[in-house]
Amino acid sequence: MSDSLLTTVDLRCERDGRTLFADLQIKLGRGECLVVVGPNGSGKSTLLRCVAGLFPDYEGAVEITRALYLGHKLGINLLLTARENLHWYEGLTGQASLVSEVLERVGMAGYEHVVCQRLSAGQQRRVGLARLLICNASMWLLDEPLTALDEAGQGLVTGLISDHLATGGGVFCATHQPLAVAVTQTLELGGRQ
């Protein structure tokens, strides 16, 4: 069994006549964290979507294990409560976990039965983050995981990432803010090319 969770070979993507990235070789093993940085519009999200299998318009090859994708869209239904959303997500991933414990971990204890529409942006984000604790994918693809979160929330995200890395998972994360975890590789997109 190969230890590589994510491998890309000669990944290249063009969008609207601009080359976002070319000849990209990524190799990410267990316990490794790759952070991709770059100005707005440099292709961070597109790269993550390529890798996640949500953007087919690229050249090259991507090989990835079962992955969890946390994008700009939260992936929670605002008409449902936090608990109902996570219950649905459990069904989707085929996992069984203790939803109340998961919600407590992301600091949403006491809000289990509130319809997500009534929660603040940061709280909705936290419900979205709870997905990280439910899905047992070894590869995490995170697009701006710190958006809309307060300091405690950001600490929560870095804590989750550290734990995941410590248990042999891999993290591929696009971010503008510095991430307070042991970053193994940094990839810079766009800018001065």
């Binding site: 949500l54 008409l79 649905w88 069904g91």
Partner: protein
């Protein structure tokens, strides 16, 4: 496993509908408003209304169903749950089928149950009402299933309404023809077995193929 996936998705849809009732009631409201307009416009002449009642009911069921289909995947597309569904659900057509089934409960099934009322407003003889209900309950699942393919293809577009109609209405035509002609023939005392079998066949084919097509179409829609 697949069954559990179906029920979880089905339950989720029902809860969503329960929290946004007006969305679910709109198509039914539209159907009954339009039917009363027909009744008013003909001056309440029973003979004319009776002749056209099957056509009016079926056409309105068709349009009302399309109205509710437009929103079938819209919310999920916008909040990102559709991405998760496409990426994670295994097999992916199961939750898709559950979504369509839930949509049908609030369109086709509800319209079938209310059809006798519509029939009475339009002076349809009560002996024909059972046939009306049978054609509706056999034909409307196909409407939802085929329409969902169009809805899945157009969900990524800002204003997909007209395109959805152009895509889907031609597929609805056979169902409309068999549905109406069954009721007409029943009125003339001719056996309606052929039309009923045709409606069943169309629904069976749709339920076999449509969920797979919808899943493929959704994948195309979220890949951007």
């Amino acid at each position: 496993m697949a069954l559990r996936l179906f029920w979880i998705q089905f339950h989720r849809e029902l809860v969503s509908v329960a929290r946004s009732k007006e969305e679910a009631l709109n198509p039914l409201l539209f159907m009954f408003l339009a039917i009363s307009l027909f009744a008013l416009a003909t001056g309440g002449d029973p003979k004319t209304l009776q002749t056209f009642a099957p056509t009016i009911i079926w056409v309105l069921v068709l349009l009302a169903n399309m109205l509710s289909l437009e929103g079938l995947f819209r919310r999920d597309y916008e909040d990102g749950t559709l991405e998760q569904l496409v990426l994670l659900a295994e097999p992916g057509f199961v939750p898709v089928l559950a979504k369509i089934a839930a949509q049908w409960c609030f369109s086709g099934l509800a319209m079938t149950l209310l059809a006798p009322v519509a029939g009475l407003i339009l002076f349809l003889p009560s002996t024909i009402l059972p046939t009306l209900m049978i054609t509706l309950i056999l034909g409307t699942p196909a409407l939802s299933l085929l329409g969902a393919v169009g809805a899945a293809l157009t969900v990524g577009l800002r204003r997909g309404g007209v395109l959805l109609a152009i895509l889907v209405l031609p597929l609805y035509v056979p169902i409309l023809i068999f549905g109406v002609s069954a009721i007409m023939q029943q009125g003339n005392g001719i056996t309606t077995d052929a039309q009923i079998y045709w409606l069943m066949a169309i629904t069976m084919i749709s339920i076999t193929i449509a969920p797979l097509l919808v899943h493929a179409a959704l994948r195309i829609s979220v890949e951007q």
